[in-house]
Every structure is written in structure tokens, then in C-alpha cells.
Subunit: 211 residues, 2 copies
DNA sequence: GTCTATACTTGGATAGAC
DNA sequence: GTCTATCCAAGTATAGAC
């Protein structure tokens, strides 16, 4: 373990007060967001960060490791904040409303875009797939907990198991993110959240009635 | 219009009996499927096609145009076949069953993967987004017609408009494709189709009852 | 420990051979 | 009309300067 970049956990930081390293992670996020995976090269990222491209390899060992560090950076922050927001919800309507807010925020800030680019780009770099997958697992688990808390008490858990539904929710989320970015219009996706809110109200009345 | 590649419609073929051109389109599909957008270069594609890389630019003018031709090639064939299959369905259960078969086929053959790579890769090439979007529109319309035929006769069209639902269905489809490829396991996605089939049976009984 | 200059590889594009 | 040889730009990676 001679170089900082080949440590087991990518992007741990705390390796010292290196401004370049921090700037590279930030620039990697921006590059994935704006230019996409295919243009996320050591040269373009370092140019955005305002430092020499060789530093990518000094700090991270490879471009892939830098991109994974970028993914870690956006994930950690978001997962914590969103978990707190979801934990504070009591009804299905509230949950969907929080989900819609999260989606809008992700779309505007481009956080989910980073994830989508990494998933789609994973097939272009050997060994990247499992690493990306490991960083999605917490999100599927997060969605699973939210759904569990929603239907767990009613008998609906047997109709659609929480884990199964969570997989679908994450897939839908990623798909909406992709389409919204492609057509440059978030209205279609947001309309679906509005519709889901209406259905959640119905659902809430339903589960309340059979209790 | 000096070169064949800069004609208004990409990949029209019938421009002559050029084996190289056909091989390039085929190789582009394979490359997008296996190596992803980021590695879909003129060199790697032409190597797979067994011809000189300069031919990419001779026939298509640019790598992007070749990739779009590849997208056209998979789309035209699939859309025709799937439309016929869906038109032959009568009940919601049948529709979901056909959808599951299509999904399984797409996943195995990697057709939807080509689409996902092009969508995610679109942000890496200026001007590619609108071209890809234009090639997705027929699919959203296709999903819209299928859903319309399903709920159009009942009063449910007002609860969830067909166009809105179609957008969600396409997003879900793309998201499932992405996740399935990432974790190399189609079981999670297929389980959702099984669940949908059960719900479709319930739905069929419901709309039958209120008629 | 931090960073740069440099070596080598791959990719996009075209002028011109056949 | 079809294709290849060749040019230059962009990318990865590292040896070594500070």
C-alpha cells in the first residue's frame, strides 16, 4: 500500500489536507453529471479541478477508482439526509410527497444522474459492475425499509413483498431520471409522483378501513 | 450529399450491396451490448466487423451516426414484432404475460441494453440526445396504445391517463433492464412481472365486475 | 508527500490509392 | 464507389523532480 489511492476503501479521505484530492472528487461528480461516463477521463476531470491529470493516478490509482469515490461522496450525504426525512413520515401520502421532493432535488442537483451514468458505464470497465452494485445496495435497502414501514402492519406484505417492491421502485426511479434528463423535461416524471400521491391517499383510506 | 453516411435518414440501407456497411451496424449493436457506449469507438467496432476503421466515417460520417443506425436497426425489427404480439392479446393477464416474454427476450438478446447505453451515453455527445429521444418516442407511443386498449373502455382512463402510465412503464422497463444487467440476475425483475400478472388478474376481475 | 514532464496507447477524421 | 494509409488529438499511466 504505497499510494493513497489503492487503499481498500475508495475515497475515505482523511489522508491529509490535500485540496487537489477534494477538488478531483468534486470535479468527477460534475463531469459525470454534465459530460457523462464516456467523457469522464482523467484529463477532463483534472482540467475541471484545475490540477494536473497525473494526480488522478497518484491519489486514486485509476480513473475508475476516482469515479467510485465520486459515487461514494454523493451517496453518503444523500442517504443520511433522505433516511431522516423518510423516518419522519407517518402516512403513505407523506411518504410519496417526500419521495417526490427527493426526486426533484436529485434531478436538479444531478445526483441520480451520477448513479445512472455509473451503472450504464459499468459495462465499459472490467470489474466496475460489482463495485457499483455494492453502492446501490444501500439504496434498495433504504427503499425496502420505507415500503416495509408502509405496508408492514397491514396484511399487504404478502401481496407485494417489500423487497420485491423496493427493486421496482429503484428501477422506476432510475428510469425516470434517465428519461427526464433525455427529454430535458421533468414534468412527465413529476406528474407521475402527483398521481402516486392521489393513489396513496386512496391506499391510506383503504388500509385504515380494514384495520 | 456526396457520401452515403450523411443522408438525412441514418441506416436506411438499400444504398447498395455493401457487406461492410451491414457488418458495421451489426458490430455496433454487439459493441454497445457488450462493451457499452464508452467503448463503442470506430476502432473497436470496425475490429469486430472485420474491416478498416475508416469505413465508419465513409459510410456513416461519424461514430454517433453509426450508433444511431444500430439503434434504428434493433428498434424497427422489435417494434413491429412486439406490436403484433400485443395486438393479439385480449385480457390484462395476457398483456402482462406478453410484456414479460418481451422483457425476457430483450434482456437475453440485449436489445434494451443498446437503448439504455444510448440514452445514458447521449449526454457525452453534443446533439445526440434529441436523436435518441426521437427513437424512443415510438416505444412510448406503443406502450400508450397497449395501456389505452387495456383501460380505455373502463372509466379508469381518468384515474391514470394512458400517456402518463406509458411514460412510467417505459421508465420502469429501462430501469429494470439496467439493474438486471448490473447484478447479472434477471430473477428480481422477472419476479415483478409475475407479481404484475397476479395483479392483472385481480384487475381483470374488477373491471369485469363494474361493467 | 505532492506534483509535473514525459512515454506510450487508443481514437477521430481525411486525403488519396485502387 | 470502396477502401487504406496516415495524421493529429485525447487518454492512461509512470518515472522522477521538488
Amino acid at each position: 500500500m504505497a499510494k493513497p489511492g489503492v487503499s481498500s476503501k475508495v475515497g475515505t479521505a482523511g489522508d491529509g489536507p490535500s485540496e487537489s484530492r477534494r477538488a478531483l472528487v468534486e470535479a468527477a461528480i460534475e463531469t459525470l453529471r454534465i459530460d457523462g461516463f464516456a467523457r469522464a477521463s482523467a484529463r477532463s476531470i483534472s482540467a475541471r479541478a484545475g490540477c494536473n491529470q497525473g494526480l488522478v493516478f497518484y491519489y486514486f490509482g485509476s480513473v475508475s477508482n476516482l469515479l467510485l469515490a465520486a459515487l461514494d461522496a454523493v451517496s453518503a450525504d444523500r442517504l443520511e439526509r433522505y433516511s431522516a426525512a423518510v423516518a419522519a413520515t407517518a402516512s403513505p401520502q407523506e411518504l410519496v410527497e417526500v419521495a417526490a421532493t427527493i426526486f426533484r432535488e436529485d434531478l436538479d442537483a444531478g445526483y441520480a444522474k451520477v448513479l445512472v451514468e455509473m451503472i450504464a458505464g459499468a459495462s465499459s470497465t472490467p470489474g466496475l459492475g460489482p463495485e457499483v452494485l455494492a453502492r446501490i445496495a444501500p439504496w434498495t435497502a433504504f427503499a425496502g425499509r420505507a415500503i416495509q414501514g408502509l405496508v408492514g402492519e397491514s396484511g399487504l406484505g404478502s401481496v407485494v413483498p417489500a423487497e420485491e417492491a423496493a427493486y421496482g421502485v429503484v428501477a422506476l426511479y432510475l428510469g425516470l431520471e434517465m428519461l427526464s434528463h433525455l427529454d430535458g423535461d421533468r414534468a412527465n416524471a413529476l406528474a407521475l409522483f402527483e398521481r402516486a400521491k392521489q393513489l396513496a391517499t386512496l391506499f391510506g383510506a383503504f388500509t385504515g378501513a380494514i384495520k
